[in-house]
């Protein structure tokens, strides 16, 4: 397998970009969710 020869950097960059965008969005929403749930729990405890 030539792993796309002369076009390798273009092809792999495109897929790496997609992977990064998909992961970044999931990480952001998960951390926001964690933060807001903690806030609500803290407010109900106090």
């Amino acid at each position: 397998m030539n792993a796309f020869g002369a076009y390798a950097s273009y092809v792999w960059s495109a897929y790496a970009l997609l992977g990064s965008v998909l992961m970044l969005n999931v990480i952001v929403v998960r951390s926001k969710r964690k933060k807001i749930i903690q806030e609500i729990k803290d407010a109900s405890d106090s």
Partner: protein, 239 residues
């Protein structure tokens, strides 16, 4: 439809949909990536560079689809004052912006080896760039307007005005002399792509569609928790 729009019901219903959407995304994404990168044959003219379309085309389709979703929800908010419609319009805009950016960058990554240029001021590329600016405008409006209701109203009106860009993007390759190729899937003729190359493209379209739906629901749930944190149902759902 209106029954599910109640925040509490929406929160529980979306929670039930999410695992299925993530499963659909995982299966079709894995299939699309493996098929698109390693099983589909190289193109006879573009060689392996054409494999970028498995990222570029679904991202571009979702960039338009997400905007349409924002506009439909904005209209629903303006007409019926459905709160959840505003929540959905708000959370879908940044996801649409990410898809638009991905479409533009992967287009450049394909354009350099094929056209010899990262960017040309072509009608399709320029109208897609305008779409990104529209998304950024909507995101910034939400940031600068302190009142949630005023921000919702203003963004709804702006997003409806911006809908004019969608047919311009789609038909730009027919209306103007464009360097960008005409539509492969949604053109005025039947798809001009070999079946073996079409399958991973459809898989990636389904995958990113499922991803968009799942992420919108997930972000909407967080936004709902934020907006409704003083209400009893939120405390019941979490504590």
């Amino acid at each position: 439809m209106f029954a599910i729009a109640a925040p509490k019901r929406f929160y529980h219903f979306s929670g039930q949909c999410l695992p299925w959407l993530w499963l659909l995304f995982g299966v079709t994404f894995l299939f699309g990536i493996i098929d698109g990168l390693f099983i589909a044959p190289p193109d006879y003219q573009q060689g392996d560079a054409y494999r970028i379309i498995y990222v570029h085309v679904p991202a571009a389709a979702l960039s338009l689809g997400a905007y349409l979703f924002v506009a439909i929800n904005s209209l629903m908010y303006l007409v019926w004052r459905i709160k959840i419609a505003d929540v959905l319009a708000k959370v879908a805009a940044p996801i649409g912006a990410w898809f638009t950016l991905t479409a533009l960058v992967t287009g450049a990554l394909w354009g350099k080896p094929m056209w010899g240029a990262w960017w040309v001021w072509d009608a399709r590329l320029t109208s897609e760039l305008i779409l990104l600016l529209l998304y950024l405008g909507l995101i910034m409006l939400r940031q600068v307007i302190p009142s949630t209701e005023r921000a919702a109203k203003t963004c709804a009106i702006v997003s409806l005005v911006g809908v004019i860009d969608l047919p311009i993007i789609h038909y730009s390759v027919y209306w103007w002399n464009s360097l960008h190729q005409q539509s492969t899937l949604l053109g005025l003729h039947k798809p001009e792509i070999a079946g073996v190359m079409l399958v991973p493209l459809l898989a990636m379209l389904v995958a990113l569609g499922a991803y968009f739906a799942a992420l919108v629901l997930q972000r909407a749930r967080v936004e709902l928790l934020e907006r409704e944190k003083q209400t009893g149902w939120v405390r019941e759902a979490l504590v």
